[in-house]
Symmetry: C2
Subunit: 299 residues, 2 copies
């Protein structure tokens, strides 16, 4: 017979029911989740009407997701949870590598392949800048034929899918590094932007009097045979929100500043030089982290 | 300038961004939530692909909700979180009262009002049982004109909305206690049932090798002017799952057994006698806990 449960023994009862979980890692994760979730409720002495508000909020977060909007990731991002997962992943890497940053909800696996030196913009309506550098291993040796996926806002602060929906790609591309691991492409200065503020996460941000802005940045996902996938971003140092990113994605090492550079491939065009260091793949490594958020929603 | 964040300082950075939240209770809840969520990720060293699986799971939970199905509540229930919230609410009550149990996803505020002695079934296709007793205050004094909302499965184990959708109500009703707080109505033996197993929560239950069953029960929501609302259920002691309810709702004090009873209003019909004790309302009390789950989903 089930004993009467109090606020501590109910936690034990849940762990007992989950104790036969055959997948050891799932068991470990769910046990920790239950312990922390219950400790949270006890700590704040959560009231039924507050619980119900939380249920309604989480339900709305899921309902708000579409193939072009991932509100659940946005919630994770604005609670610093995504940044923490990135930090933990970086800590597990023994080899030196570039600091990671958030994947965010705007990555698309099917970005068009372009030639080195091409622009990621389909129409050039703002002053161009260029990115160049090298993808190197922990010893500084160039990684040939690495795949670099790049995506950012246009010069007005919008991702393609915020303007065109799913149908049209812009300001995103894939490049393959040359024999020496070098890359080079053209773009425009991205703009910082508000996260989507018209959903439940936006209401949370407003209720916390947060500005809800991300500083301007360009996303990079870099992969090569035999290496861990690197998900990162470069942040434009002149942005007013560089120190208060609402999703906690900025590291000092990722802050750049476009400037005239005599060594850049195209003379007379502002340039960002950045070398990315990627770590060798480990046995049972972290797997593909660049899963396409649009694939998470079937509805 | 933002400092580079490590797995501990990222938590501080989130708390700092939330520190201006004007609503003190929201601030307290969100601070605790962030601390526990981050501690969970650190404890299990959560990997990016596991995080992504969690994002996909939570998104699907929200997407699965409809006006007649509340998967987010089901998740909370199966993690013992709803039971814990109920226990915390009961602990805050100073006056003696009947143990609470889960509201569950099948409550409807608009249940039809019936006269004492009527049946809650629209069609009688199984042996009838009767419920009777008294709603009393902490001193054992009857509470006149208390409103009792009752709902349960039919004799085949289904709630009305699982068969008829939103359009038709069955096996649910409201009754008003008499001058002495007494109530009496007819019903059938409800059946235990599987929680909905065809969604993400069902997959979790299967992955944990849990049976996913609730023992047979009849829900009660009892309210009266000047009293705290009581949400509880009576559980049928003969059910094989009485000791392992998959949503942790059973208390010993709520276990009943229908039997022949010479004192029951209708002779020759199995009866359940149960007296409910309700607590006086407190200033700034818990509010209405019986919010209609169907109202949580606008989509």
């Amino acid at each position: 017979m089930q004993q009467d449960l109090d606020q501590f023994s109910v936690t034990e009862a849940v762990l007992e029911q989950m104790s036969k979980t055959p997948d050891a890692r799932l068991k470990q994760i769910m046990e920790s989740l239950v312990k922390h979730a219950h400790a949270f409720a006890r700590d704040v002495d959560l009231k039924p009407e507050e619980w119900l508000a939380g249920i309604a909020f989480l339900t709305e977060v899921g309902k708000t997701c579409t193939p072009s909007r991932q509100e659940t990731i946005l919630l994770s991002d604005t609670l610093g949870f995504s940044a923490l997962v990135n930090i933990l992943a970086a800590n597990r890497q023994q080899a030196k590598s570039t600091d990671p940053s958030l994947l965010g909800p705007f990555y698309r696996a099917a970005a068009p392949l372009k030639q080195l030196g091409e622009t990621i913009a389909t129409k050039i309506d703002a002053p161009e800048i260029q990115f160049y550098g090298q993808v190197v291993d922990a010893d500084g040796k160039g990684v040939p034929h690495a795949e670099i996926t790049v995506w950012q806002t246009d010069a007005h602060g919008y991702y393609d899918m915020q303007i065109h929906g799913e149908d049209e790609m812009d300001h995103r591309a894939k490049f393959i590094t040359d024999e020496n691991g070098r890359y080079h492409f053209r773009s425009v200065r991205p703009l910082g932007y508000y996260i989507p503020m018209d959903g439940p996460v936006g209401r949370m941000i407003n209720a916390q009097l947060r500005h809800g802005c991300r500083p301007a940045h360009t996303h990079f996902l870099i992969g090569a045979e035999g290496y861990e996938e690197l998900v990162t971003s470069l942040y434009f140092g002149y942005d007013q929100y560089i120190g208060t990113d609402t999703v906690f994605g900025v590291s000092k090492s990722l802050i750049i500043m476009p400037e005239m550079d005599a060594n850049a491939p195209i003379p007379g065009m502002e340039a960002v030089r950045y070398d990315f260091t990627i770590a060798p793949a480990r046995a049972g490594g972290s797997g593909r982290v660049g899963a396409d958020p649009s694939q998470l929603v079937k509805a």
